[in-house]
Subunit: 316 residues, 2 copies
């Protein structure tokens, strides 16, 4: 497992990130000395993944607080850096209560602990010989350590339940091919990268047992925003009678958002797809709760009706 | 429209191809002086698209015949160059009857004429304001002129029925982003390239009215092999109650193949996905007839049950 402090950490005078844009070809660190620089790192995806950007924002606030800077201004620039993941807003609310370095470190530690709890809950759902398909990167890089969906795969592997992982390459930024494959390789878990559009025929061929993804925001009714392509997998999984498991910490559950249509979906620069042609580049999609077999948080396995099963999960 | 002879043609001493691997960045021609070189051009996708590789093989046979070369050997090397598209075998059978240059030219001309007929039939199915989604490149480049699915879009555009085209970028080789977008741009048809995995959420948002693709081989029961990702779109279209129209010439219909599972699916080099990671790279998938609203050939619109509606379509 990637050490949490290798993914991101607070040093004396900077928040330091492993640059996820350059992985796996280069392992380069990026130092951000201000909240504005951390917001840029979030926006440009030096650091990405809902829980990880929450931790990044917490570190930025702690740094600003130590310097006696304007915390409202820091909060604002961080909050606006990316719209879909709710963890960012959650972490900023937490840091309003206590903007100390200790608190930020604790938030980071807590996210990793939640991952271990979710992983165990998810592994409980899997049968021996499982061939799982995952999308994007919901690994240690995305959560600040261990991982949500990838954490579940690690736990299943340790228990001898996992046979193979299909990794959607995840266009346009290839988080699956670049980041998830790298994490699985590090853990020596058998896997193969596939073009996103090949998932359906692997399902039809009986080579997939379940789909496991992370989440960026889970609405009160269970509708889940995650990397573009997740909704596509959800429909395909339903058609092939395979379960979709969403693995995410309670910090990703947003009870204040009623349902999927109320979740803001980021549209990123079409140039990420192509410099040359007209393009559309929605970065996330929403999967209706109806297509999700279970949502696993650190509190356990939540099933439909999600409005009831998720209600108690978020600690106010 | 791209002139057929610009896409591929038979010159005095070579078959000449517009190199589809380099488009749209460079317009370079590749000259193949032997059947072996034409087979390499097919294998490496200098020329691709089921009808176009059939025409390429016909030109190679004509060239070999003029030189008094071993036609059985030429037939064999061409036949083995790619397994899925049936047009290759069809064109080689045709050239056995008459291996002349005139015959090869006529086969090329006929494919383009079939495209125009299919395009008119498909446009008849579309309502004004249609926003179509297409996958891969079933354009003039794929058929040797005008195009099957893209031909249908051209005809719909000329009739004022087409509002917008969503173009799947089509990983791993990006035929949609590189070739279809280029052809639509040339025809001034409004379009945007999307990541393949974004198609589902555009459908859910009500921004797609139908899916139109080409085909590499259509079995007797209507099961259709086409670029990997087509089956995925078929399931997604069904879920969103959108019609999938497959537009292909009768040379793509293979009554000797009973159904989808009997169609050989090419697996290409995983390096096309990534040089670095374990990968799987199926190049085609099979869409069950059950998910296809209509198959359009130059003979007209065929509906289920396809075993009956396709039966008369292939001229023996």
């Amino acid at each position: 497992m990637l050490e949490p402090e290798r993914i991101l950490r607070l040093e004396e005078d900077a928040v330091v990130f492993l640059d996820q844009r350059r992985l796996p070809l280069e392992e380069i660190e990026v130092r951000c000395a201000t909240a504005g620089e951390v917001a840029d790192a979030i926006r440009t995806m030096v650091v990405r993944g809902a829980p990880a950007i929450g931790v990044a924002a917490a570190y930025a606030i702690a740094l600003a607080a130590e310097r006696g800077e304007d915390l409202e201004a820091a909060d604002r620039v961080l909050r606006e850096s990316r719209p879909t993941a709710v963890n960012l807003a959650w972490a900023l609310e937490e840091m309003r209560k206590d903007p100390s370095r200790d608190h930020a470190n604790r938030l980071h530690r807590d996210e990793v602990e939640r991952c271990r709890a979710m992983a165990a809950h998810t592994a409980d759902l899997l049968a021996p010989g499982t061939r799982a398909l995952t999308h994007c990167n919901a690994g240690g890089l995305a959560t600040g350590g261990y991982g949500s969906a990838v954490g579940a795969l690690l736990a299943a592997w340790e228990r001898g339940l996992l046979e193979h992982v299909w990794v959607d390459e995840t266009r346009p930024l290839l988080q699956g091919a670049r980041l998830t494959a790298w994490e699985l390789e590090t853990a020596s878990i058998p896997h193969a990268v596939i073009a996103d559009s090949a998932a359906a025929s692997l399902m039809a061929a009986g080579e997939v047992d379940c789909v496991i993804t992370g989440a960026d925001r889970i609405a009160a009714n269970g509708d889940t925003a995650n990397k573009i392509g997740t909704y596509s997998l959800a429909v395909l999984a339903r058609h092939h009678e395979l379960p979709l498991y969403v693995v995410a910490p309670s910090t990703t559950v947003d009870l204040a958002t009623e349902d999927g249509p109320a979740i803001p979906i980021e549209e990123r620069d079409p140039a990420e797809i192509t410099e040359r042609f007209a393009a559309r580049n929605p970065a996330f999609d929403v999967t209706p709760a109806e297509l999700i077999a279970a949502i696993v948080t650190e509190a356990g396995v939540h099933r439909a009706p999600f409005d009831r099963s998720l209600a108690g999960v978020v600690v106010a």
